[in-house]
Subunit: 231 residues, 2 copies
Amino acid sequence: MEAFQSTGSSTREPRESAEHPGGVGGRQRERIIRAATLVFSRKGYDGARVEEIARKADLPKGNVLYYFKTKKDLYRIVIEQVLTLWLDALGDIAVDDSPEEAIRQYVNRKLALSRHYPEASRLFAMEVISGAPVIGAHLRNQLRVWVEEKGRVFRRWQDQGQMARIDPAHAFFMIWAVTQTYADFEAQIQAVTGVQDYDTEIYEGATSEVVDALVRGLGLTNEMSERRAQA
Amino acid sequence: MEAFQSTGSSTREPRESAEHPGGVGGRQRERIIRAATLVFSRKGYDGARVEEIARKADLPKGNVLYYFKTKKDLYRIVIEQVLTLWLDALGDIAVDDSPEEAIRQYVNRKLALSRHYPEASRLFAMEVISGAPVIGAHLRNQLRVWVEEKGRVFRRWQDQGQMARIDPAHAFFMIWAVTQTYADFEAQIQAVTGVQDYDTEIYEGATSEVVDALVRGLGLTNEMSERRAQA
DNA sequence: ACCAAAGTTGACCATTCGGTCAATTCCGGT
DNA sequence: ACCGGAATTGACCGAATGGTCAACTTTGGT
C-alpha cells in the first residue's frame, strides 16, 4: 500500500508491568519503536520491511505485529513521535533575550537535536521528501501556526533594525536546512570530509562555525551599524 | 534486495532509429528514465515498484524490463545521471571574479537547479539519507576532490580577508543545504507557507533573500570593514 | 515483397511481503 | 498450587513483486 490516509486504528496496549530483573521488563514496545525508527529512516515507509524491524528488535515478526496491529500503525506512531520531538525542540524562541542570543540558542538546540537523534531527523526528512503523506496535516496546522507566531517576533526585530529584512519563513527554512543537513546528509559529509569520528569532529566544527555564519547571515549582530529601513 | 553492491551489468541498447511520425520514435528509454526518476525520488529504491514506473511511463512492465534488465540496473543509471547533473552544475567557481560575485552566481545556479529539477534533487537526497549505498564511492572520490580544490580557493580568499574564516567544507554544506531544501522539503515549505504557485512564489523569494543571507553569512561583502585575522 | 533484428505485450513463475492464527509459555494475583 | 490474561512463537495464507518467456508486431535494409 502506498500514500495511505488516516484510518481508525487501535493498538493493543500490553500490561503495564513494573521492571522485572530476570524477566522481560515489559519494555518491548520501546524496542520495537527504536528499531522501526532506524529502518524507516533508511528505507522510508514503502521500502521498510516488517521482518527487518523485527530482526533489529531481536524479536519474531509475529511479536512486532502483536504490539502494533499493522505496519501502517507502527509507522504512524513512530513518525508522530518524531514529529513531537521536532516540534517540542523548536521550543520557544526567547523574546526577551537579545535577538542574537535567542537565535544562537535556537540554532544550537536544533543542531544538538540533529546530533543526538540523527535517525529521527532522517525519518522526518524521508517523510517530507515523500510528500509528507502522513504528517502533512500536522505541518499545515501546528507548524504553520508556530512559524506565523515566531515570524511576528522576527518582524518586530526587523522593525527595530536588529535583524536583516528577510521573510521570516525563509529564515526558518535556512536554519532548519543547515541544522538538519548534518544528520540527513551525514553519508555525504562523511564521504567528503573522511573524518573518523563524525559525531564529535563534525558537530563540534559546525556548532562553532555554522552558528556564527547563520547569525551573521540573518543580520543579527547587536551592533548593526548599517541602517536597513525599507518598510 | 537491499543495500546492493556493484555488479557487472549490461543493458540492452535498442536500435538508434530516427524519429518516426506514426510509429514509436525509439525514445522509450528516456520516458522510462523520466518516470523512474519520479518514482524513485518519492519512494527510494526499495520502496519503488517497477510496475508503478511502467504505469507512469505508460508502458507495460515487461517493456520496462526489456530496456533495463533489472530494477537495480535502472536505478543505477537513473541516479548516476542525477549525480552527473549535480556534479556538472557544481560548475566552476570563478576564481577571477570577486568572491562575492562568484558565490552569488554559484548559489543562484544551485538554486535554479533545485527549481528546475526538483525530482533529481529529491532522488539524490533519498540516496544520501539511505546511506549512499550506490553513489557513496563517487562522493568519496569526485566530490571530495572537488571540495578540496575549491576549498583552497576559499582559503585564499580568507587569507586576503575577503571571506569569513569558515571551514570551506562547512561553507559548502551550508550552501548545499539551503539551496536543496527548497526542492527536498517542498512539501513542508508548501505546508507552512500555503502558497499556490510554489515554483514562482517560493523560488523568487528565495533567490532574492536567501542568496543575500548566505553571502552575508559567509562574510563575502567586498567592503569588509571588520578585521578578521586570526590565523 | 521479404527477412532478420528490434520492439511490444500479457501470461506466467518463484519469492517475498504483510498479516493471521492456534498453540504454548510466562506471569501476577489469590 | 492454580487460574486467567498477557506475551511469545512459528507455521501458514493470500496478495504483491521482480523477473522470465514465448508469441506477436514493427521497422529498416535490400
